[in-house]
Amino acid sequence: MRRPRLAEWQLALPLALAYAAFFLVPLVLLIAVSAFDDEKITIVGFAQWRKFLGDPFTWKVIVDTVKLGCFTVVATALVAYPIALVYLGAGPRWQRAILFVVILPLLTSVVVRTFAWIVILGREGVINQAVLWLGLAPAPLRLLQTEHGLVIALTQIEMPLLLLPLLSVMSRLDPSLRDASAGLGATRWRTLFRVTLPLSLPGLVAGCMLVFASSTTAFISQFVIGGNRLVYLPLLIWQQSLVVYNWPLAAAAALTLLVSVGLGVAAISALGRRSRAYAV
């Protein structure tokens, strides 16, 4: 039974080859391109890396990008978790309805959803009209091209990425554990924090990692809603690769984004492991 199963790894081979061809090879190419000094990719050197990482503005952009990911993760988790609890307590028919509503935004293009947010967040948009009508502010609020406006939009755009793994884990929780907790005298809040939350952590952590990776790299949403006033790494990559054709610098920026996102995802994963150990 322990012998290597030939057929199984053969079946995984096409995917492995595709992964190697379409991810590993381009990644190696990206690293190679970043190790050139000039735009025409002829002189080997690390001048672009020195220029990129030696500029304090780059570090501000890196920090802003990671910060955007963190804010989006926190906002998405705070909104998504109550929805997941409602899902947990709902009957099968409502569960199907909630799942459908969660998946619904994925059926529209992210470009369409992003442009819809211009209509919602704009000066004459739905939110501002409501704020003015209710007399909550004397003038329209500035929501577009601000970090909080972008986080609001990204929270909705990225929501399915957090909810789907969370709901998948939640639906497999054994209801008798919560009943046992209640039977032993725990309040609903204590049951939530000592039973439900620790058991649903794997789903929450997986969702947070997806949201972090997706929101920090969401070029279209960042640029359309944030405009030029909010500069994140994907904008720098686009400018360098497609507007001024400085591919070595674009490659250095892309690798920096890859490392930043990788570290962020690893941090969320580590945080998840630690809090799980603490909770249990």
Binding site: I118, G122, Q145, E147, N228, L230, Q239, L242
Partner: protein, 356 residues
């Protein structure tokens, strides 16, 4: 290592059906062959053209494709790409272009020439050559449309601005929507603003000095693609843009007027080029000839396309800021061979100046 039958006998099979090595190799071969054949197939009598997405693509599908088919029996296939994306793709393809014809603004055109991405162009092969203004063709390609850039504003919200200087003053500045140096119209407009404060085609420093003073008031500094939506949604009520965008927005019922600035409107030309290594250059010439022919140019000028034609036989629409193509010679023109080398530094500077 046993055969499939052996393994099944030993109870190792997870499912009833497994692939044999032969089947696996056959499947791989089929997949490989399919991938190998999936390269762009240039059918007889076709040309693949890169095309700006949106208005341009829709207009070319409606008017150029049928005309090309009728006149030359050539099918037009379009790949929607912005100018900068065309250059990046052609450069990455290294001699095996993913399309036969480019459509470009002046900045990317100069980059394309510098990086050897175009075939040499023989203007004499265009039957419509005599109907084009002098200088509309050169050794690299043909001009197919003109663009005029100036100021657009909402007359119901703001008084009429006189020129670029007004954009940085009240009441306009607090309703101003801007874009950076990523686009041709953005770059030339910022140059024109800089000129009002003592700058020049190669010196935009005065712009940065002036914008720093009013940055907190500016209504929006957006992505180029989002500017029409920002204007339509009232996020900004004055911006710099081209006549085509103004006409398109007006067609959608937006309150918008075009202003020819007192320092002059900016004119530049959109050109087409044959991609280096294209195997359909014959059809590319037929395609270009169709695009600049009078009936097609007249159709492209009509709403909702709103192109500015380059064929002299086409009478210009009444709402354009000139009565004839010759008048455009008096408009402001820029030398992109000088601008391109400076653009990377300007973009970097713009990021740093406007980022919060």
């Amino acid at each position: 290592m046993g055969t499939r039958a052996n393994r099944q006998e030993k109870g190792e099979a997870m499912s009833e059906r497994r692939f044999t090595r032969r089947e696996f190799l056959a499947a791989t071969a089929v997949t490989g062959t399919a991938l190998a054949m999936a390269r762009p197939v240039h059918a007889r009598g076709s040309v693949t053209a890169a095309m700006y997405p949106g208005t341009w693509e829709e207009a070319f599908r409606a008017h150029v494709a049928p005309a090309l088919k009728a006149a030359h029996s050539v099918d037009l296939e379009m790949t929607p790409l912005f100018a900068v994306d065309q250059i990046a793709k052609a450069q990455a393809a290294r001699g095996a272009p993913p399309f036969d014809a480019f459509v470009l603004d002046p900045g990317p055109r100069v980059t394309g020439i510098e990086r050897g991405l175009f075939e040499k162009f023989d203007a004499k092969r265009l039957t419509n050559l005599a109907r084009l203004p002098s200088g509309a063709t050169d050794e690299w390609g043909v001009t197919v449309a003109a663009q005029v850039v100036g100021i657009a504003y909402n007359p119901k919200k703001l008084p009429r601005p006189k020129g670029y200087k007004d954009l940085l003053q009240d009441p306009w500045v607090s309703r101003l929507g801007m874009t950076g140096f990523q686009t041709t119209y953005g770059t030339v407009s910022i140059i024109e603003i800089a000129k009002q404060f003592g700058g020049s085609e190669t010196n935009v420093e005065p712009f940065f000095v002036e914008i720093r003073k009013v940055l907190s008031k500016v209504a929006a500094i957006g992505a180029p693609a989002s500017m029409p939506a920002l204007f339509q949604q009232g996020q900004c009520d004055v911006t710099y843009t081209n006549t085509q965008t103004v006409a398109t927005l007006r067609g959608r019922g937006v309150d918008i007027e075009f202003v020819k600035p007192d320092s002059g409107a900016v004119a530049f030309f959109t050109t087409m080029h044959i991609a280096k290594g294209s195997r359909e250059s014959e059809n590319a010439y037929k395609y270009f000839d169709t695009v600049v022919s009078a009936p097609v140019q007249a159709a492209l000028m009509q709403p909702p396309n709103n192109f500015i034609p380059v064929n002299r036989e086409v009478k210009l629409a009444a709402d354009l800021p000139m009565a004839s193509l010759d008048e455009m010679a008096k408009f402001v023109h820029h030398d992109w061979a000088k601008i391109n080398p400076l653009r990377a530094a300007w973009i970097e500077r713009f990021n740093k100046e406007v980022a919060k």
